[in-house]
Symmetry: C2
Subunit: 533 residues, 2 copies
């Protein structure tokens, strides 16, 4: 496929007159052809208008057709073969293997949602039948199910150019539940975005979806983002990025004449609690495991373990962990902005009171300043000083870890109590520890979306039970997850039908259950006659 | 029970030093004893602190205990007998029968949620088991369920002193899912609030719930409301009231350093579409049915049909409807503010361009100005003029109806297209109409929470399938409902546990399924061995 640099507006193409942006090779510092062109305000408006028009008749494409659509997107991504991988590697500095794995994950996710909507039970269909004999008033027939909300804007993540970008999690959740999607490409991987956008457009065409079910916009600054989020016909937003960017967009979404649901995944330090037994019996193993998690993808994972809390004799662990971090090869970050932010954050953290810098090499000396190559950093602080300084809860995006030493059980609990919202918290210890520290478990449950025992926070399984979310500021809306089966709920709302003739109901709610889905009927879970799951 | 006029702070009582408020008899204009005292800032803080403390150990009280708690609240409300009914009648001007029915509905709702949490399946438990042999990386064990979010503030509605107030929908949803609740009493029925608050406190004490699971605050102005919504430990808000009040609180909730979920049910004109066949074949029946719905509770229902759209020859219907509305006895509104707003709104609407006033008696002449007695009003306008004036979509809270005449099918659809979000839309016609107007049905689905065919919007059934919600400005968050089984989700969020030892998991997620609930296991719905539902 030849890259054109143009936005995708419905089934057409954007112009070549907007401000130019380019891909950038973070390993070499080279600007990459071709030029990409920012969408105009007219193009933004057209993409949302088309989406809104396509949406009114969204019920004409049922779950089985949406499943075919999603599977075709995956096929198209695979068919690009190494052409796509090469472009993504060039634009992101990520290794080819990682990119191939991420494509596989993206396709798995597309098929996972395809299976879910093909089955159809996810809509939570509920039927309460009429009772005309009820006293004092007859009971009406009420039936309800989850429905899509309308045109959704999706903002791509820098750190997952495939799995959390154009054909990534939010797009798949929104399309699967029947919403049209307008994606804003990330400036850091515009070519990868065009590949994925083409995969979606071609799949939509193939399966006869109405124009407007998908558009892809480029933006050299923030104009397109603002025009999109404030468009009166837009009905929801998914965003993955920085806390500053997410907060700014959240304000736009909340301040519209009609406020709309806004899901931002923003920042998380993913605290790891190492309990005394783990420090005593397996500090080497813990240090090795943790350093792998802390340096994975040059620390650019939203689940990177940024803060590690120890209790007890941590000397051996700290030595071993610092040693491993110091020996870790430098790595190329995704783009110059991210590398510069990382270097700045290391300096700022070093200057915080009571923070001891155990190791740092944020600028690998052998490399020129133009590139994005950085090294690791390890900081240390005692629990009391950590508790006194809220700034130390801010995420440092990159391979930096802050070790916090709690001097008592009470201090450990106080640290947990003072934590802001996070995506994950991890406890390393024994099963007995979990019972002895049941108050820690209770506290952490109120702070995170996912609690991990004796594992690493990095690695987010795509499965029905996954929760990749958490209270603010991990996300802007802790009621949702951006990964896993529950993500299909984020762009939906329940709609009920009262006393509707059977033939006029959506098939999910018709008396004969023609789709064979699980339903709640008169308060009971009812297994479909021919259960396919 | 003797009314004290004091807030309920945990298991204690508020002071008697705050600004005074009183109940008011809208039928007579009399101020009612005793004095009620606004909570102090210290009392607000204490109620939230107690709630937060109680919440950390909320998992110690399982669904079965919460069910007993809810059922005891209902028993206590019943035990107050006529004492409660008399006080509510005095404070609200509602008829005793209506108050008795509303108490019955409130108790039914408490028991409905009690049954739900006793069963326990509502938590949407999901289990994805480990697969250590998976290539390229082992699959972890991931289990998740819905959990409560923390201290919730509930703002009472004026128009449902029992069912949407202290022991009403939001309180029940929040308590049922395991959250502590701080209720702000409505100034319009402080005595009723103390009855219901006492019912909850006594039930909490009886079942050994930790202090802080419930508090009740009085507020003579807006200070307590502001202190409550901006309290750093508060985690969610439920509100039923005006669009102005809801919007102001929504801004407070969104602007906190930590934004929190905010559910306001605010305003709705509940459009009724009368299709040509209904006008032709049964205009008298339609007019009679509609006027009952439009005047129910002196028009003070959130589902009051404020806008009626006709297409075709509407002459007979309009005459009959106007006649019935004009003959309707005047009624007493809930309080002087509401009556004054209604009178003002009638004048303002009369002055709108192209609006024809068919009938009005907003001030019943036989009654002095001090009271809250008002009459009905009927307005008329053509479809094109309605489309040109957005103000006509504003709710007039009271027994006023605006009749809009569409001159064509296209104009009818354009009216539907331009509607703001509403709680309900109603279609009157034949089953054939529904098929002929399938585009109307498609459009209305995107605008409302509940679609009614050949019925009245008033009357909101408490059942699993009910959706009492809708897009903005009907509510601040169209993803939720404030009535019915799905309301239990509003103050919850999913939490996942990865690789946790079985004994440390919540019982809902343990391998043996000790609670016997429905779960999703490895992607399949699994019926519990001993299914109780």
């Amino acid at each position: 496929m030849e890259l054109t640099g143009q936005s995708i507006i419905g089934y057409g193409r954007g112009g070549k007159t907007g401000a130019v942006l380019n891909g950038f090779n973070p390993s070499t510092g080279d600007v990459l052809p071709p030029n990409f062109y920012s969408a105009s305000e007219i193009e933004v408006d057209k993409s949302v208008q088309l989406a809104a028009q396509s949406f009114v008749h969204s019920d004409r494409k049922g779950g089985k057709e949406r499943a075919l659509f999603l599977r075709s997107i995956a096929e198209n991504l695979v068919q690009f073969g190494e052409t796509l991988v090469e472009r993504t590697v060039l634009e992101t500095g990520l290794a080819a293997t990682r990119v191939r794995n991420e494509r596989e994950r993206t396709c798995f996710q597309l098929r996972f949602f395809a299976d879910m909507v093909e089955d159809g039970s996810w809509v939570d269909a509920r039927i309460d039948r009429a009772d005309s004999a009820r006293i004092p008033v007859p009971k009406p027939d009420v039936r309800s199910m989850l429905r899509p909300v309308g045109p959704i804007a999706v903002f791509c993540a820098s750190n997952f150019p495939l799995a959390f970008s154009v054909a990534g999690g939010d797009t798949v959740s929104a399309l699967a539940s029947g919403n049209p999607v307008i994606v804003l490409a990330h400036y850091s991987h515009p070519g990868t975005a065009e590949f994925a956008g083409t995969a979606i457009r071609d799949a939509a065409l193939k399966h006869g979806f109405p124009e407007g079910v998908f558009s892809l916009l480029y933006d050299s600054g923030h104009h397109v983002a603002q025009a999109l989020v404030t468009h009166p016909l837009l009905k929801g937003v998914g965003f993955t990025g920085s806390r500053a960017g997410g907060t700014a967009l959240m304000k736009l979404a909340n301040f519209r004449p009609e406020p709309i649901p806004f899901y931002a995944e923003m920042s998380s330090v993913n605290p790891v609690f190492i309990l005394p037994s783990a420090l005593k019996s397996r500090s080497d193993f813990v240090a090795e495991d943790l350093h792998v998690s802390a340096t994975l993808g040059v620390g650019q994972f939203c689940t990177n373990p940024g803060v590690v809390i120890t209790m007890g004799d941590s000397g051996a662990f700290v030595s071993r962990f610092t040693d491993l971090m110091a020996k870790k090869d430098s790595g190329v970050m995704l783009n110059p902005n991210i590398a510069a932010s990382y270097r700045r954050a290391i300096l700022e953290r070093s200057a915080q009171p009571d923070v001891r810098l155990r190791w740092t090499a944020p600028e690998a000396p052998e490399i020129s300043e133009n590139t994005c190559r950085v090294g690791t950093a390890v900081f240390e602080i005692d629990g009391r000083s950590w508790l006194a300084n809220r700034v130390l809860q801010d995420e440092v995006f990159g391979p930096a870890t802050l070790l916090v030493h709690a001097e008592s059980r009470e201090e450990l609990l106080q640290i947990a109590r003072c934590l802001e919202g996070n995506l994950t918290a991890t406890i390393l210890g024994t099963a007995n520890d979990l019972r002895d520290f049941s108050d820690l478990v209770s506290l952490l449950q109120t702070k995170v979306g996912r609690l991990i025992f004796n594992g690493s926070p990095t690695g987010v399984e795509v499965c029905e039970a996954m929760v990749h979310g958490g209270p603010y500021p991990a996300t802007s809306d802790g009621r949702s997850t951006s990964v896993g089966g529950r993500a299909i709920f984020r762009f939906t709302r329940p709609v009920s039908f009262q006393n509707f003739p059977d033939v006029c109901l959506p098939p999910e709610l018709q008396e004969s259950n023609p789709m064979g889905i699980w339903r709640m009927e008169d308060g009971r879970h009812i297994q479909p006659a021919a259960c396919t799951r």
